[in-house]
Protein backbone atom coordinates (compact mmCIF):
# COMPACT_ATOMS: atom_id res chain seq x y z
CA UNK A 1 0.00 0.00 0.00
CA UNK A 2 2.75 2.40 1.04
CA UNK A 3 6.34 2.21 -0.03
CA UNK A 4 8.91 4.84 0.91
CA UNK A 5 12.48 4.37 -0.30
CA UNK A 6 15.29 6.58 0.98
CA UNK A 7 13.03 9.59 1.27
CA UNK A 8 14.53 12.97 2.11
CA UNK A 9 12.49 16.12 2.61
CA UNK A 10 13.87 19.60 3.10
CA UNK A 11 11.66 22.68 3.40
CA UNK A 12 13.41 25.57 1.67
CA UNK A 13 16.66 26.55 3.31
CA UNK A 14 15.98 24.80 6.61
CA UNK A 15 17.57 21.56 7.77
CA UNK A 16 16.04 18.31 6.58
CA UNK A 17 12.69 17.33 8.13
CA UNK A 18 13.12 13.76 6.90
CA UNK A 19 16.47 12.20 6.13
CA UNK A 20 16.51 8.80 4.53
CA UNK A 21 13.23 7.24 5.53
CA UNK A 22 12.37 3.73 4.32
CA UNK A 23 8.93 2.41 5.12
CA UNK A 24 6.78 -0.39 3.81
CA UNK A 25 3.14 -0.75 4.83
CA UNK A 26 1.02 -3.66 3.55
CA UNK A 27 -2.65 -3.29 2.69
CA UNK A 28 -4.80 -3.82 5.78
CA UNK A 29 -2.10 -2.87 8.28
CA UNK A 30 -2.61 -0.54 11.26
CA UNK A 31 0.47 1.59 11.91
CA UNK A 32 1.21 4.14 14.63
CA UNK A 33 3.80 6.79 13.87
CA UNK A 34 5.25 8.17 17.09
CA UNK A 35 8.08 10.48 17.98
CA UNK A 36 8.80 13.74 19.75
CA UNK A 37 7.47 17.09 18.62
CA UNK A 38 9.11 18.15 15.36
CA UNK A 39 10.37 14.64 14.54
CA UNK A 40 8.80 14.69 11.06
CA UNK A 41 5.54 12.78 11.53
CA UNK A 42 3.36 15.34 9.82
CA UNK A 43 5.92 15.74 7.06
CA UNK A 44 5.85 12.00 6.44
CA UNK A 45 2.07 12.07 6.29
CA UNK A 46 2.01 15.03 3.92
CA UNK A 47 4.09 13.00 1.50
CA UNK A 48 1.50 10.21 1.55
CA UNK A 49 -1.36 12.28 0.12
CA UNK A 50 0.92 14.38 -2.03
CA UNK A 51 0.57 17.71 -0.28
CA UNK A 52 4.36 17.76 -0.52
CA UNK A 53 6.75 15.99 -2.83
CA UNK A 54 9.95 14.42 -1.49
CA UNK A 55 13.19 16.29 -2.11
CA UNK A 56 14.71 12.95 -3.09
CA UNK A 57 13.71 9.31 -2.89
CA UNK A 58 10.46 7.73 -4.02
CA UNK A 59 7.03 7.60 -2.42
CA UNK A 60 4.63 4.99 -3.80
CA UNK A 61 1.07 4.88 -2.52
CA UNK A 62 -1.57 2.48 -3.87
CA UNK A 63 0.89 1.47 -6.56
CA UNK A 64 1.53 4.99 -7.84
CA UNK A 65 4.78 6.92 -7.74
CA UNK A 66 3.59 10.25 -6.41
CA UNK A 67 6.51 12.25 -7.85
CA UNK A 68 5.61 11.06 -11.33
CA UNK A 69 1.89 11.66 -11.01
CA UNK A 70 0.44 14.28 -13.39
CA UNK A 71 -1.36 17.22 -11.71
CA UNK A 72 -4.73 16.24 -13.19
CA UNK A 73 -4.53 12.80 -11.62
CA UNK A 74 -3.95 14.18 -8.14
CA UNK A 75 -7.61 14.83 -7.18
CA UNK A 76 -8.60 11.30 -8.18
CA UNK A 77 -5.71 9.89 -6.16
CA UNK A 78 -6.60 11.95 -3.09
CA UNK A 79 -10.13 10.58 -3.11
CA UNK A 80 -8.68 7.15 -2.33
CA UNK A 81 -7.09 8.52 0.81
CA UNK A 82 -8.94 9.78 3.87
CA UNK A 83 -6.91 12.29 5.86
CA UNK A 84 -7.47 13.68 9.35
CA UNK A 85 -5.30 16.78 9.49
CA UNK A 86 -3.52 17.84 12.67
CA UNK A 87 -5.12 21.29 12.33
CA UNK A 88 -8.45 19.81 11.12
CA UNK A 89 -8.64 21.95 7.93
CA UNK A 90 -12.40 22.35 8.06
CA UNK A 91 -14.22 25.01 6.06
CA UNK A 92 -14.97 27.30 9.02
CA UNK A 93 -18.12 28.94 7.66
CA UNK A 94 -19.77 25.77 6.40
CA UNK A 95 -21.96 23.53 8.46
CA UNK A 96 -20.73 20.23 9.83
CA UNK A 97 -22.95 18.50 7.26
CA UNK A 98 -21.46 20.44 4.35
CA UNK A 99 -17.94 19.76 5.53
CA UNK A 100 -18.51 16.03 5.66
CA UNK A 101 -20.66 15.88 2.53
CA UNK A 102 -17.99 17.69 0.56
CA UNK A 103 -15.81 14.56 0.46
CA UNK A 104 -18.74 12.83 -1.26
CA UNK A 105 -19.66 15.73 -3.55
CA UNK A 106 -16.21 15.70 -5.11
CA UNK A 107 -16.69 12.07 -6.12
CA UNK A 108 -20.11 12.89 -7.61
CA UNK A 109 -22.05 10.63 -5.26
CA UNK A 110 -25.81 11.05 -5.65
CA UNK A 111 -27.63 13.35 -3.20
CA UNK A 112 -29.66 10.41 -1.98
CA UNK A 113 -26.53 8.48 -1.10
CA UNK A 114 -25.12 11.58 0.60
CA UNK A 115 -28.24 11.90 2.73
CA UNK A 116 -27.76 8.28 3.80
CA UNK A 117 -24.05 8.26 4.53
CA UNK A 118 -23.45 11.61 6.24
CA UNK A 119 -25.77 11.06 9.23
CA UNK A 120 -24.37 7.55 9.67
CA UNK A 121 -20.78 8.74 9.95
CA UNK A 122 -21.74 11.68 12.19
CA UNK A 123 -23.47 9.19 14.47
CA UNK A 124 -20.23 7.21 14.59
CA UNK A 125 -18.25 10.19 15.98
CA UNK A 126 -21.13 11.31 18.22
CA UNK A 127 -22.01 14.54 16.42
CA UNK A 128 -25.41 13.66 14.96
CA UNK A 129 -27.01 16.68 16.68
CA UNK A 130 -24.30 19.12 15.53
CA UNK A 131 -24.95 18.69 11.79
CA UNK A 132 -26.46 22.13 11.26
CA UNK A 133 -23.82 24.10 13.21
CA UNK A 134 -20.98 25.88 11.47
CA UNK A 135 -17.55 24.33 11.92
CA UNK A 136 -16.21 27.47 13.59
CA UNK A 137 -18.93 27.26 16.23
CA UNK A 138 -17.79 23.87 17.47
CA UNK A 139 -15.53 23.08 20.39
CA UNK A 140 -12.00 21.89 19.61
CA UNK A 141 -12.85 18.25 20.19
CA UNK A 142 -16.01 18.47 18.11
CA UNK A 143 -14.05 19.94 15.22
CA UNK A 144 -11.55 17.14 15.46
CA UNK A 145 -14.34 14.59 15.24
CA UNK A 146 -15.81 16.33 12.19
CA UNK A 147 -12.40 16.01 10.55
CA UNK A 148 -12.43 12.30 11.34
CA UNK A 149 -15.94 11.91 9.97
CA UNK A 150 -14.94 13.61 6.73
CA UNK A 151 -11.95 11.30 6.33
CA UNK A 152 -14.14 8.23 6.82
CA UNK A 153 -17.29 9.09 4.93
CA UNK A 154 -16.24 8.02 1.44
CA UNK A 155 -14.79 4.74 2.68
CA UNK A 156 -11.23 5.21 1.38
CA UNK A 157 -8.88 2.22 1.11
CA UNK A 158 -6.23 4.22 2.99
CA UNK A 159 -6.91 6.29 6.11
CA UNK A 160 -4.28 8.63 7.49
CA UNK A 161 -4.81 10.44 10.78
CA UNK A 162 -2.44 13.03 12.18
CA UNK A 163 -2.84 13.35 15.93
CA UNK A 164 -6.57 12.54 15.79
CA UNK A 165 -7.18 12.57 19.54
CA UNK A 166 -5.15 15.59 20.68
CA UNK A 167 -8.25 17.58 21.58
CA UNK A 168 -10.34 14.72 22.93
CA UNK A 169 -10.92 13.57 26.47
CA UNK A 170 -9.76 9.98 27.14
CA UNK A 171 -13.24 8.46 26.83
CA UNK A 172 -14.06 10.12 23.52
CA UNK A 173 -10.53 9.42 22.31
CA UNK A 174 -10.96 5.75 23.04
CA UNK A 175 -14.27 5.67 21.15
CA UNK A 176 -12.68 7.33 18.14
CA UNK A 177 -9.79 4.90 18.15
CA UNK A 178 -12.27 2.02 18.26
CA UNK A 179 -13.81 3.49 15.10
CA UNK A 180 -10.39 3.44 13.46
CA UNK A 181 -9.81 -0.15 14.55
CA UNK A 182 -13.23 -1.12 13.17
CA UNK A 183 -12.48 0.50 9.84
CA UNK A 184 -9.17 -1.34 9.80
CA UNK A 185 -10.90 -4.66 10.45
CA UNK A 186 -13.06 -4.04 7.40
CA UNK A 187 -9.87 -3.90 5.30
CA UNK A 188 -8.80 -0.26 5.32
CA UNK A 189 -5.12 0.46 5.79
CA UNK A 190 -4.74 2.89 8.71
CA UNK A 191 -1.76 5.11 9.54
CA UNK A 192 -2.01 7.18 12.72
CA UNK A 193 0.52 9.71 13.99
CA UNK A 194 -0.07 10.03 17.69
CA UNK A 195 1.28 11.19 21.03
CA UNK A 196 -1.40 9.33 22.95
CA UNK A 197 0.76 6.93 24.92
CA UNK A 198 -2.21 5.30 26.61
CA UNK A 199 -3.88 4.44 23.33
CA UNK A 200 -0.76 3.19 21.59
CA UNK A 201 0.11 1.01 24.55
CA UNK A 202 -3.42 -0.38 24.82
CA UNK A 203 -3.71 -1.37 21.17
CA UNK A 204 -0.25 -2.86 20.67
CA UNK A 205 -0.11 -2.46 16.94
CA UNK A 206 2.84 -1.84 14.70
CA UNK A 207 4.73 1.24 15.92
CA UNK A 208 7.15 3.27 13.78
CA UNK A 209 9.16 5.76 15.80
CA UNK A 210 10.70 8.81 14.19
CA UNK A 211 13.37 11.01 15.72
CA UNK A 212 14.93 13.98 13.97
CA UNK A 213 13.68 12.80 10.59
CA UNK A 214 14.88 9.19 10.82
CA UNK A 215 13.10 5.94 11.59
CA UNK A 216 14.64 4.81 14.85
CA UNK A 217 12.26 1.95 15.66
CA UNK A 218 9.78 -0.27 13.82
CA UNK A 219 8.06 -2.85 16.05
CA UNK A 220 5.22 -5.13 15.04
CA UNK A 221 3.40 -5.11 18.38
CA UNK A 222 5.02 -2.10 19.88
CA UNK A 223 4.52 0.29 22.75
CA UNK A 224 4.73 4.10 22.72
CA UNK A 225 8.23 3.93 24.18
CA UNK A 226 10.76 1.19 23.64
CA UNK A 227 10.51 -1.58 26.21
CA UNK A 228 13.71 -1.22 28.13
Amino acid sequence: MIELANVHKRYGRYEEALSGVDLHVDPGEFVFIVGPSGAGKTTLIRLLYREELPTSGTVRVAGKDLSRMRPREVPYFRRQVGVVFQDFKLLPERTVWDNVAFALVVTEVSPKEIRRRVPAVLELVGLRDRARMKAQELSGGEQQRVAIARALVHGPPLLIADEPTGNLDPTTAWEVVQVLVDVNHRGTTVVVASHAKALVDALRRRVVELAAGRVVRDEVRGLYVHEA
Binding site: R72, R78, R79, K89, L91, E108
Partner: protein, 295 residues
Amino acid sequence: MKLNTWCYMVREAGGNVRRNTLMSTASVGIVAVSLFVLSVFVLLALNVNYLAATLESQVQIQVFLSRSLSTAQTAALRQQVAAVPGVRAVSYISAQAALTQLKREFGRQQDLLSAVEQHNPLRPSLAVQTVNPHQVGAVAAKLKGFQGVRKVTYKAAVVRRLFQVADALHRGGLILAGLLCLATIFIVANSVRLTVFARRHEIGIMKLVGATDALIRWPFLLEGMILGVVGSLIATGVLWESYRLLEQGVQRTIPFLPMLPSYPLMGELAVSLAALGALIGVLGSSLSLRRYLRV
Protein backbone atom coordinates in the same frame (compact mmCIF):
# COMPACT_ATOMS: atom_id res chain seq x y z
CA MET B 1 -19.90 16.16 -14.91
CA LYS B 2 -23.24 14.98 -13.65
CA LEU B 3 -26.30 17.19 -13.38
CA ASN B 4 -26.12 16.88 -9.60
CA THR B 5 -22.66 18.34 -9.63
CA TRP B 6 -23.84 21.27 -11.72
CA CYS B 7 -26.68 21.85 -9.28
CA TYR B 8 -24.16 21.77 -6.47
CA MET B 9 -22.00 24.36 -8.20
CA VAL B 10 -24.87 26.73 -8.89
CA ARG B 11 -26.06 26.44 -5.29
CA GLU B 12 -22.50 26.97 -4.17
CA ALA B 13 -22.11 30.14 -6.23
CA GLY B 14 -25.38 31.56 -4.91
CA GLY B 15 -24.38 30.63 -1.37
CA ASN B 16 -21.03 32.35 -1.75
CA VAL B 17 -22.68 35.54 -2.89
CA ARG B 18 -24.99 35.50 0.11
CA ARG B 19 -22.41 34.40 2.65
CA ASN B 20 -19.76 36.92 1.74
CA THR B 21 -22.05 39.92 1.77
CA LEU B 22 -19.18 42.30 2.25
CA MET B 23 -17.07 41.04 -0.60
CA SER B 24 -20.06 40.64 -2.87
CA THR B 25 -21.18 44.21 -2.26
CA ALA B 26 -17.68 45.47 -2.82
CA SER B 27 -17.29 43.61 -6.10
CA VAL B 28 -20.72 44.61 -7.36
CA GLY B 29 -19.97 48.20 -6.43
CA ILE B 30 -16.66 48.19 -8.24
CA VAL B 31 -18.16 46.67 -11.36
CA ALA B 32 -21.04 49.14 -11.26
CA VAL B 33 -18.80 52.17 -10.83
CA SER B 34 -16.35 51.01 -13.49
CA LEU B 35 -19.02 50.22 -16.02
CA PHE B 36 -20.75 53.49 -15.27
CA VAL B 37 -17.62 55.52 -15.88
CA LEU B 38 -16.90 53.47 -18.99
CA SER B 39 -20.39 54.11 -20.29
CA VAL B 40 -20.13 57.81 -19.62
CA PHE B 41 -17.07 57.85 -21.85
CA VAL B 42 -18.77 55.79 -24.51
CA LEU B 43 -21.84 58.03 -24.45
CA LEU B 44 -19.61 61.08 -24.65
CA ALA B 45 -17.78 59.67 -27.64
CA LEU B 46 -21.02 58.62 -29.32
CA ASN B 47 -22.54 62.05 -28.83
CA VAL B 48 -19.47 63.88 -30.08
CA ASN B 49 -19.57 61.69 -33.15
CA TYR B 50 -23.25 62.42 -33.53
CA LEU B 51 -22.55 66.13 -33.20
CA ALA B 52 -19.77 65.96 -35.74
CA ALA B 53 -21.99 63.99 -38.10
CA THR B 54 -24.77 66.52 -37.69
CA LEU B 55 -22.41 69.37 -38.45
CA GLU B 56 -20.87 67.49 -41.33
CA SER B 57 -24.25 66.82 -42.85
CA GLN B 58 -24.81 70.55 -42.90
CA VAL B 59 -21.87 71.05 -45.23
CA GLN B 60 -23.31 71.84 -48.63
CA ILE B 61 -22.10 72.24 -52.15
CA GLN B 62 -23.30 75.45 -53.75
CA VAL B 63 -23.87 75.19 -57.47
CA PHE B 64 -24.22 78.62 -59.11
CA LEU B 65 -26.31 78.54 -62.25
CA SER B 66 -26.14 80.52 -65.42
CA ARG B 67 -28.56 83.48 -65.22
CA SER B 68 -29.94 82.60 -68.66
CA LEU B 69 -31.47 79.24 -67.60
CA SER B 70 -35.23 78.90 -68.12
CA THR B 71 -37.43 77.43 -65.42
CA ALA B 72 -37.75 74.16 -67.34
CA GLN B 73 -34.00 73.98 -67.89
CA THR B 74 -33.43 74.62 -64.20
CA ALA B 75 -35.82 71.85 -63.24
CA ALA B 76 -34.09 69.45 -65.64
CA LEU B 77 -30.66 70.35 -64.29
CA ARG B 78 -31.92 69.87 -60.78
CA GLN B 79 -33.07 66.35 -61.59
CA GLN B 80 -29.77 65.66 -63.29
CA VAL B 81 -27.88 66.79 -60.19
CA ALA B 82 -30.15 64.76 -57.90
CA ALA B 83 -29.31 61.68 -59.95
CA VAL B 84 -25.56 61.98 -59.32
CA PRO B 85 -24.43 59.12 -57.05
CA GLY B 86 -23.75 60.31 -53.52
CA VAL B 87 -26.18 63.23 -53.65
CA ARG B 88 -28.79 63.16 -50.94
CA ALA B 89 -30.81 66.34 -51.39
CA VAL B 90 -30.94 69.27 -53.76
CA SER B 91 -32.77 72.50 -53.21
CA TYR B 92 -33.14 75.53 -55.50
CA ILE B 93 -32.32 79.02 -54.29
CA SER B 94 -33.40 81.85 -56.59
CA ALA B 95 -31.27 84.98 -56.94
CA GLN B 96 -33.89 86.90 -54.97
CA ALA B 97 -33.89 84.34 -52.13
CA ALA B 98 -30.10 84.46 -52.04
CA LEU B 99 -30.12 88.23 -51.60
CA THR B 100 -32.72 88.03 -48.84
CA GLN B 101 -30.66 85.42 -47.03
CA LEU B 102 -27.51 87.45 -47.47
CA LYS B 103 -29.28 90.47 -45.98
CA ARG B 104 -30.29 88.42 -43.00
CA GLU B 105 -26.75 87.12 -42.53
CA PHE B 106 -25.28 90.58 -42.81
CA GLY B 107 -27.40 91.78 -39.99
CA ARG B 108 -26.66 95.36 -39.01
CA GLN B 109 -24.25 96.06 -41.80
CA GLN B 110 -27.06 96.40 -44.30
CA ASP B 111 -25.79 99.77 -45.55
CA LEU B 112 -23.75 97.79 -48.01
CA LEU B 113 -26.69 95.83 -49.33
CA SER B 114 -29.04 98.78 -49.66
CA ALA B 115 -26.55 100.10 -52.16
CA VAL B 116 -27.04 97.09 -54.43
CA GLU B 117 -30.71 96.44 -53.76
CA GLN B 118 -32.01 97.77 -57.05
CA HIS B 119 -29.64 95.66 -59.15
CA ASN B 120 -29.28 92.16 -57.67
CA PRO B 121 -25.80 90.95 -58.56
CA LEU B 122 -26.37 87.41 -57.24
CA ARG B 123 -27.04 84.25 -59.23
CA PRO B 124 -29.64 81.55 -58.62
CA SER B 125 -28.06 78.40 -57.20
CA LEU B 126 -28.66 74.80 -56.15
CA ALA B 127 -27.77 73.74 -52.62
CA VAL B 128 -26.60 70.12 -52.80
CA GLN B 129 -26.19 67.80 -49.82
CA THR B 130 -24.21 64.59 -50.16
CA VAL B 131 -25.07 61.31 -48.47
CA ASN B 132 -21.60 61.06 -47.02
CA PRO B 133 -19.70 64.25 -46.18
CA HIS B 134 -16.50 62.65 -47.41
CA GLN B 135 -17.89 62.65 -50.95
CA VAL B 136 -18.24 66.43 -51.11
CA GLY B 137 -15.08 66.91 -53.18
CA ALA B 138 -15.87 64.20 -55.71
CA VAL B 139 -19.48 65.24 -56.19
CA ALA B 140 -18.50 68.90 -56.60
CA ALA B 141 -15.99 67.98 -59.30
CA LYS B 142 -18.64 66.01 -61.17
CA LEU B 143 -21.22 68.81 -60.95
CA LYS B 144 -18.76 71.26 -62.43
CA GLY B 145 -19.11 69.60 -65.85
CA PHE B 146 -22.90 70.00 -66.11
CA GLN B 147 -24.53 72.27 -68.70
CA GLY B 148 -25.77 75.55 -67.23
CA VAL B 149 -23.53 75.39 -64.16
CA ARG B 150 -21.37 78.47 -63.80
CA LYS B 151 -19.44 77.77 -60.66
CA VAL B 152 -19.36 75.15 -57.93
CA THR B 153 -18.13 76.01 -54.43
CA TYR B 154 -18.00 74.37 -51.05
CA LYS B 155 -16.24 75.45 -47.91
CA ALA B 156 -13.25 73.22 -48.52
CA ALA B 157 -11.14 74.46 -45.61
CA VAL B 158 -13.96 74.34 -43.08
CA VAL B 159 -14.96 70.85 -44.16
CA ARG B 160 -11.40 69.67 -43.90
CA ARG B 161 -11.01 71.12 -40.40
CA LEU B 162 -14.29 69.69 -39.26
CA PHE B 163 -13.22 66.29 -40.46
CA GLN B 164 -9.96 66.65 -38.60
CA VAL B 165 -11.69 67.59 -35.37
CA ALA B 166 -14.27 64.82 -35.70
CA ASP B 167 -11.56 62.31 -36.53
CA ALA B 168 -9.43 63.40 -33.59
CA LEU B 169 -12.39 63.20 -31.26
CA HIS B 170 -13.36 59.83 -32.63
CA ARG B 171 -9.89 58.41 -32.37
CA GLY B 172 -9.35 59.95 -28.94
CA GLY B 173 -12.70 58.63 -27.79
CA LEU B 174 -11.89 55.12 -28.97
CA ILE B 175 -8.49 55.14 -27.27
CA LEU B 176 -10.02 56.49 -24.07
CA ALA B 177 -12.83 53.91 -24.10
CA GLY B 178 -10.31 51.15 -24.75
CA LEU B 179 -8.13 52.32 -21.88
CA LEU B 180 -11.13 52.48 -19.59
CA CYS B 181 -12.25 49.01 -20.58
CA LEU B 182 -8.81 47.70 -19.67
CA ALA B 183 -8.90 49.66 -16.43
CA THR B 184 -12.26 48.13 -15.57
CA ILE B 185 -11.09 44.58 -16.22
CA PHE B 186 -7.95 45.32 -14.22
CA ILE B 187 -9.89 46.70 -11.28
CA VAL B 188 -12.40 43.88 -11.29
CA ALA B 189 -9.73 41.22 -11.74
CA ASN B 190 -7.91 42.68 -8.78
CA SER B 191 -10.93 42.79 -6.57
CA VAL B 192 -11.89 39.25 -7.49
CA ARG B 193 -8.29 38.29 -6.82
CA LEU B 194 -8.58 39.75 -3.35
CA THR B 195 -11.78 37.80 -2.86
CA VAL B 196 -10.09 34.60 -3.93
CA PHE B 197 -7.07 35.49 -1.82
CA ALA B 198 -9.29 35.83 1.23
CA ARG B 199 -10.52 32.32 0.52
CA ARG B 200 -7.22 30.74 -0.42
CA HIS B 201 -7.31 28.48 2.63
CA GLU B 202 -10.75 27.23 1.70
CA ILE B 203 -9.57 26.47 -1.83
CA GLY B 204 -6.53 24.65 -0.47
CA ILE B 205 -8.69 22.53 1.78
CA MET B 206 -11.03 21.61 -1.04
CA LYS B 207 -8.11 20.48 -3.15
CA LEU B 208 -6.72 18.37 -0.33
CA VAL B 209 -10.06 16.60 -0.02
CA GLY B 210 -9.86 15.62 -3.69
CA ALA B 211 -11.80 18.31 -5.54
CA THR B 212 -10.86 18.77 -9.18
CA ASP B 213 -9.91 22.20 -10.42
CA ALA B 214 -13.19 22.38 -12.35
CA LEU B 215 -15.27 21.77 -9.25
CA ILE B 216 -13.51 24.56 -7.43
CA ARG B 217 -13.37 26.93 -10.37
CA TRP B 218 -16.96 26.82 -11.57
CA PRO B 219 -18.67 28.19 -8.47
CA PHE B 220 -16.19 31.07 -8.49
CA LEU B 221 -16.76 31.72 -12.20
CA LEU B 222 -20.53 31.65 -11.75
CA GLU B 223 -20.16 33.89 -8.74
CA GLY B 224 -18.08 36.33 -10.77
CA MET B 225 -20.68 36.26 -13.50
CA ILE B 226 -23.53 36.94 -11.10
CA LEU B 227 -21.66 39.81 -9.49
CA GLY B 228 -20.70 41.24 -12.87
CA VAL B 229 -24.24 41.15 -14.18
CA VAL B 230 -25.71 42.66 -11.02
CA GLY B 231 -23.09 45.40 -11.14
CA SER B 232 -23.90 46.13 -14.76
CA LEU B 233 -27.60 46.32 -13.99
CA ILE B 234 -26.96 48.96 -11.36
CA ALA B 235 -24.71 50.87 -13.74
CA THR B 236 -27.38 50.73 -16.45
CA GLY B 237 -30.07 51.98 -14.10
CA VAL B 238 -28.06 54.95 -12.89
CA LEU B 239 -26.91 55.71 -16.42
CA TRP B 240 -30.38 55.59 -17.88
CA GLU B 241 -31.74 58.02 -15.32
CA SER B 242 -28.73 60.35 -15.62
CA TYR B 243 -28.99 60.43 -19.39
CA ARG B 244 -32.67 61.24 -19.17
CA LEU B 245 -31.97 64.11 -16.79
CA LEU B 246 -29.10 65.34 -18.95
CA GLU B 247 -31.29 65.23 -22.04
CA GLN B 248 -33.93 67.31 -20.28
CA GLY B 249 -31.31 69.75 -19.04
CA VAL B 250 -29.83 70.17 -22.51
CA GLN B 251 -33.28 70.61 -24.01
CA ARG B 252 -33.92 73.41 -21.56
CA THR B 253 -30.63 75.30 -21.70
CA ILE B 254 -28.88 74.61 -25.01
CA PRO B 255 -31.57 73.25 -27.32
CA PHE B 256 -29.42 73.73 -30.43
CA LEU B 257 -26.97 71.04 -29.19
CA PRO B 258 -27.91 67.81 -30.91
CA MET B 259 -27.96 64.72 -28.67
CA LEU B 260 -28.49 61.06 -29.52
CA PRO B 261 -32.03 60.09 -28.49
CA SER B 262 -32.06 57.61 -25.61
CA TYR B 263 -34.54 55.13 -27.03
CA PRO B 264 -32.64 52.51 -28.97
CA LEU B 265 -29.29 53.64 -27.56
CA MET B 266 -29.88 52.84 -23.88
CA GLY B 267 -31.42 49.46 -24.65
CA GLU B 268 -28.37 48.44 -26.65
CA LEU B 269 -26.12 49.82 -23.98
CA ALA B 270 -27.94 47.83 -21.28
CA VAL B 271 -27.45 44.58 -23.18
CA SER B 272 -23.79 45.36 -23.93
CA LEU B 273 -23.11 46.28 -20.32
CA ALA B 274 -24.71 43.10 -19.02
CA ALA B 275 -22.61 41.03 -21.40
CA LEU B 276 -19.52 43.01 -20.53
CA GLY B 277 -20.22 42.68 -16.80
CA ALA B 278 -20.60 38.93 -17.09
CA LEU B 279 -17.45 38.69 -19.18
CA ILE B 280 -15.48 40.84 -16.76
CA GLY B 281 -16.68 38.81 -13.79
CA VAL B 282 -15.78 35.51 -15.41
CA LEU B 283 -12.44 36.79 -16.71
CA GLY B 284 -11.59 38.35 -13.36
CA SER B 285 -12.39 35.16 -11.49
CA SER B 286 -10.56 32.87 -13.86
CA LEU B 287 -7.46 35.05 -13.96
CA SER B 288 -7.42 35.20 -10.17
CA LEU B 289 -8.04 31.53 -9.59
CA ARG B 290 -5.18 30.22 -11.64
CA ARG B 291 -2.63 31.05 -9.00
CA TYR B 292 -4.47 29.45 -6.12
CA LEU B 293 -5.32 26.24 -7.89
CA ARG B 294 -1.76 25.08 -7.62
CA VAL B 295 -1.99 23.24 -4.29
